[in-house]
């Protein structure tokens, strides 16, 4: 794919402590300004795949990889994360891993400062993200005094101020409340539309993500076992159930109707649900 932002070919990966490959022959291509949602049970390899794409494995996290990972033209298997500075932003599942400073303002300014941007630009970006994610009331707070959900929001904000071209999110909404989730999705959608941001997000709760996602990939035991548009993936009812993936509510209703003998299409977004269910 010519306009691919992230290309993964026949990728195998494992950690120093793993006995066997954690990723087994993963192939993936995500186009520029597209959003891919990665799904699958805990332990299926979603986080490992994100670490490999970010050049953290084996460069920061000890382990081994073989295969090809190219992100925005950078051969990650050769350069590691150093070749991706300012290009890829990753938000970890556990915000404790990346919230490090003593004030929320410092946290937000750190990435653009480290990129060597002029002070006015640093300020502009901090102001932008504070507005976008409604963080004004946190600015003077010590991040360590915030709740899990608030820390997660700050972690996401601190990566967005870097203005990466590729954003990797590991269960970004697991601790967020409804408002935080909505603000993050709206902001990510805006960056995708206006700045061509490419997004790969691992998520268990996919319903709100599919409103903005272009593709879904389901992983099981280290491999991608389903891939396609959200509609394609969730219309394969038996596979969705076999891999324990949580469907959007509208799709679940369609599954129940099919069990009752009604031949209905599987909607994944609300708009489609209105058509399918004739509302």
């Amino acid at each position: 794919m010519e306009s691919s932002s992230v290309v993964v070919k026949d990728l195998y990966a494992k950690y120093a402590v793993s006995e066997s490959w954690v990723l087994k022959s993963v192939n993936l291509a995500v186009g520029k300004a597209r959003m891919l949602v990665l799904m699958g049970p805990s332990g299926c390899g979603k986080s490992t795949l994100l670490y490999a794409i970010a050049g953290l494995l084996p460069w920061v996290v000890p382990g081994e990889i073989k295969g090809e990972v190219v992100v925005e033209g950078v051969d990650v298997t050769r350069s590691g994360y150093r070749g991706l500075a300012g290009v890829v932003g990753i938000v970890y599942q556990n915000p404790e891993m990346q919230v490090v400073t003593r004030s929320v303002y410092e946290e937000l300014a750190m990435a653009p400062e480290n990129l060597g941007l002029p002070k006015e630009e640093v300020l502009r970006r901090v102001e932008w993200v504070v507005e976008a994610l409604d963080l004004g009331r946190y600015l003077d707070r010590d991040p360590q005094s915030l709740s899990g959900g608030e820390k997660q929001l700050i972690a996401i904000a601190s990566v967005l101020t870097m203005r990466p071209r590729v954003l990797l999110l590991d269960e970004p909404t697991s601790m967020l409340d409804h408002k935080g989730t909505r603000l993050v999705l709206e902001t990510v959608e805006q960056l995708k539309r206006e700045h061509g941001l490419t997004i790969i997000a691992a998520e268990h709760r996919v319903e709100w993500a599919v409103e903005v996602a272009d593709a879904v990939a389901v992983m099981s035991d280290g491999s991608i076992v389903m891939e396609g548009s959200p509609e394609e993936v969730f219309s394969r009812v038996e596979d969705v159930e076999r891999y324990g993936v949580r469907p959007p509510g509208a799709a679940e209703v369609a599954y129940e109707l099919r069990k009752r003998g009604f031949e209905v299409r599987v909607p994944v977004r609300l708009k489609a649900a209105h058509e399918v269910f004739k509302l």
Binding site: S42, S174, K179, E207, R246, L257
Partner: protein
């Protein structure tokens, strides 16, 4: 029975987190608590469990005022599972972890191992009793933390965001466990943002907003009221929007599909 009477709570040198809550929960209820980050949900749950004492008003657990009842007595009545299981786990083995409170309560050693096994079975954690809690996955730690509470056999179990970090299969299995405990007679109070799971399992929903209760009613009714949810900053789920539109009795896939099927068969 749990009774909160005009309860207020202020953290030392901090903001007033609970600003006048009156609430009662009968024995055997399954109550979901929802609210935004910082609304006061965790504070409310800790007040119910007697881990925090009200600054004003009182909390009664089976008629006992939490301000004057010893923790050892309260712990047998109400168990509280922390949001982060790491907060609760400190022993070298699963046996020691789950047995910790039982030993403090003075249970005979012969009885302890049986209770520990039963509690671990309830949360479906099949690991050797001498395994270390620290090598467990996050989901397993979560279940271990719940087992620690169940071992004490409290009549009320309070869980603070127990689904965080769990995949869908584990979420369902956890809620099925809670549902089973509830059917056996335990009162279950669970804080979560996952309103679809609440609609399916809880009978009553309490909405906490800025330290007060903004709504309290049957789960199906509260969670289908999308105008209320939107007005209070919640994003209605697809099931909630569909249930509201179809006037289905609850925002669950089975209730919504049942309502649709009935309408289609009639037309």
């Amino acid at each position: 029975m749990i009774k909160l009477e005009k309860v207020r709570f202020r953290y030392p040198n901090g903001p007033e987190a609970i600003k006048g809550v009156t609430l009662s929960v009968e024995d055997g209820e399954f109550v979901g608590v929802i609210g935004h980050s910082g609304a006061g949900k965790t504070t409310l749950a800790k007040l119910i469990a007697g881990l925090l004492k009200p600054s004003e008003g009182r909390v009664l657990v089976d008629g006992m005022d939490t301000r004057v009842t010893p923790a050892s007595v309260l712990a047998r009545k109400v168990g509280y599972v922390f949001q982060n299981p790491e907060t609760m786990l400190f022993s070298a083995t699963l046996l020691d972890e789950v047995a910790f409170a039982l030993r403090n309560f003075g249970y005979p050693p012969a009885e302890i191992e049986g209770r520990v096994r039963a509690a671990l079975e309830k949360v479906d954690l099949q690991k050797p009793l001498n395994a270390s809690p620290h090598v467990l996955s996050f989901g397993e730690k979560r279940r271990l933390a719940i087992a620690c509470i169940l071992a004490m056999d409290p009549s009320v179990v309070v869980l603070d965001e127990p689904t965080t970090g769990l995949d869908y299969a584990r979420c369902l299995s956890l809620f099925n466990t809670l549902s089973k405990l509830n059917k056996e007679g335990k009162t279950v109070i669970v804080i979560t943002h996952d309103t679809d799971l609440l609609a399916r399992f809880a009978k009553r929903v309490v909405v906490v907003e800025e330290g007060v209760i903004a709504r309290d009613g049957p789960a199906g009714e509260v969670l289908s009221d999308i105008d209320f949810l939107r007005a209070h900053g919640f994003t209605p789920t697809q099931l909630q929007v569909l249930a509201s539109k179809l006037k289905a009795p609850a925002p669950t896939a089975s209730a919504v599909s049942e309502t649709l099927a009935r309408a289609w068969r009639l037309s």
